[in-house]
């Protein structure tokens, strides 16, 4: 970019160009921003994205539905189960599969745990970027606990590939239930401690309050969604606006902010974690009231048979291969389904032509849409505020670049 000539009110004659990223420890991901600086003030900025573009939408056109789940893991890898289940629910909606209530509650537990994990990363990293490392270390213990729960549920931690079309591959085992219960008991103390470290911390407040505020009008014009939109005072949450997975049965509130600054984004995410915890508690009770042992819908055409049966019975082996190879009937349709992801409305626009792979699959990735406002909100501010603003947007490189 060309240097910008500065007026008499500046000590400098012209701006200095600074490459912030693509690999910079303060950006927490592969983002490049070319900044034109007048001292420490950002005069203009330009974002370059796409450094980890992996052509997921193109690959998805060549894969049967099950093999798309691992692609969704790698969008927002901080809350992979939400992506997995969002995709499975899209396919279920397409196929008209009704999931049993117990499956819905199990899914809600997994999704709300991942929302907590996602928000923990974001909020503690806001702390790190403003110079408060301690909170980050404290809450990562709890994030570890969540990953251990995922490990019990599906066998993996970060990119979970959790669940099946119609439900889960297996029931939550006793260890998983015990770990969830332990988490419910222990998390409030850690969360309270985290809030005590930050919410009334003078330095943190000075760094966050009034920094990069965004009005509700601007947030809507930029198609922001999720905690960012809510921090600007708009109470749009897909879980309430268009309930999926039995969310309508749950009692929870949508926290909203007023000014849309970094502090509001931080507080909204914190409160959402409390709400998620309450949802998990409710879901666990509801789940235990349901008949035991139901963990997927009766859809043998789409739900992989248990592994033991695949090794011992012919029919299961046939079904296993049919499903893996995508030799199952898929209607010709066009569908948009969205779920409330960690960063906002995560949408799946799926067009099928009756073939084994989608004709077209488009992911509405909240990070991609939220991040385009970054240059706008960083402009005019100090470079240190821009760093903090970026972590408060919680841009996940995988979701940004697809």
């Amino acid at each position: 970019m060309a240097h910008i000539k500065l007026g008499d009110n500046s000590l400098e004659k012209e701006t200095v160009t600074l490459n912030l990223g693509p690999t910079h420890p303060a950006t927490h991901g592969v983002f490049q921003n070319i900044l034109e600086l007048d001292g420490e003030r950002i005069v203009s900025a330009q974002s370059t994205i796409g450094y980890i573009h992996r052509a997921f939408e193109k690959i998805a056109e060549h894969r049967p539905f099950y093999q798309i789940t691992p692609l969704t893991d790698r969008l927002n890898y901080c809350s992979a189960p939400i992506n997995n289940m969002g995709w499975h629910m899209t396919v279920e909606k397409l196929l008209g599969i009704q999931t049993p209530k117990r499956v819905d509650y199990m899914r809600i537990i997994a999704m709300e745990l991942s929302r907590i994990a996602d928000h923990l990363v974001c909020n503690s990293v806001i702390g790190v970027d403003s110079g408060a490392f301690t909170g980050f270390l404290y809450v990562f213990q709890k994030r570890e606990d969540i990953y251990e729960i995922f490990e019990e549920i599906c066998g993996s931690r970060l990119t979970t590939n959790m669940g099946r079309i119609g439900g889960f591959e297996r029931d939550f085992n006793d260890v998983a239930i015990a770990k969830i219960k332990k988490f419910i008991v222990e998390f409030p103390d850690v969360m309270r401690e985290f809030e005590n470290l930050f919410n009334r911390n003078r330095i943190f407040i000075d760094r966050c309050v009034g920094v990069t505020p965004v009005s509700a009008e601007k947030a809507l014009a930029y198609s922001w969604s999720g905690p960012l939109l809510r921090s600007c005072g708009v109470d749009y949450d897909v879980r309430v606006a268009k309930p999926y997975c039995s969310y309508e049965e749950f009692d929870f509130e949508i926290p909203v902010g007023t000014t849309g600054d970094i502090y509001d984004r931080f507080l909204v995410r914190n409160e959402e974690m409390w709400q998620s915890l309450s949802i998990i508690k409710q879901a666990l009770v509801k789940m235990e009231n349901e008949p035991k042992g139901i963990f997927n819908a009766e859809v043998p055409d789409y739900c992989l048979p248990p592994k033991e049966d695949v090794y011992s019975s012919m029919e299961s082996l046939i079904y296993h291969f049919k499903i893996v190879m995508g030799e199952v009937p898929i209607p010709k349709a066009e569908i948009y389904h969205s779920v409330e992801g960690g960063n906002g409305e995560l949408g799946f626009y799926l067009v099928t032509d009756g073939g084994r792979a989608p004709f077209r699959l488009h992911f509405r990735r909240p990070s991609f849409i939220n991040y385009q406002a970054y240059v706008d909100i960083a402009k005019g501010g100090m470079i240190s505020d821009a760093i903090l603003a970026m972590s408060s947007l919680n841009v996940i490189a995988g979701e940004l670049d697809a």
Binding site: K58, I59, S223, Y336, H362, Q372
Partner: protein, 170 residues
């Protein structure tokens, strides 16, 4: 206070058909989502109307994406998803363009957020949004010449001999 009428797909469609009678074709409701097709000359006007209308208030742009139907007369589709947060109702608007001149007006005048969505659509489908402030590639490298989400673009190098996916039908 005026009586609040429950807004549904039919009410939205009635309003649209009243205003743009000859520009709305192929109305359908797949999975309860009102879907209409329109022409490239009318689409921005229709979206602006949906945005401005005090009863409809479609003021949230959910998504813009492209679709390539190589067998159609007008193969390149642009799909807009709009959401009225106040009425909690969505609408999908489709426009189809010829491959020879895939040009359409930009939506950035109505929604700031259309900026990157249109850049992405341009990047992958080569659809040119006229009047866009900064229409460059966004996820692919700048010197790429192809538009990779078009159906004729192969997923893998067609000259590869070490891998045969024929049995997998893809």
């Amino acid at each position: 206070m005026a009586e609040v009428k429950e807004m549904n797909n039919q009410a939205v469609l009635d309003k649209l058909q009243f205003k743009f009678a000859d520009a709305i074709f192929n109305v359908s409701e797949p999975f309860d989502l009102l879907t209409i097709t329109t022409s490239k000359d009318k689409v921005i006007e229709i979206i602006q109307f949906l945005y401005d209308n005090e009863e409809l208030k479609f003021r949230f742009l959910t998504d813009i994406c492209g679709v390539h139907y190589p067998d159609q007369e007008l193969p390149l589709g642009v799909v807009y998803h709009l959401h009225s947060l106040t009425n909690n109702i969505r609408v999908r608007i489709k426009v189809f363009l010829p491959e020879s001149a895939p040009r359409i007006q930009t939506l950035t005048g109505v929604f700031l957020g259309a900026n990157w969505m249109e850049r992405e659509t341009y990047d992958f489908f080569g659809i040119i949004f006229e009047g866009h402030p900064d229409l460059r590639r966004i996820l692919n490298v700048d010197d790429m010449v192809a538009f990779p989400m078009r159906k004729e673009f192969p997923l893998e190098d067609p000259n590869r001999t070490d891998k045969n996916d024929d049995y997998f039908g893809r």
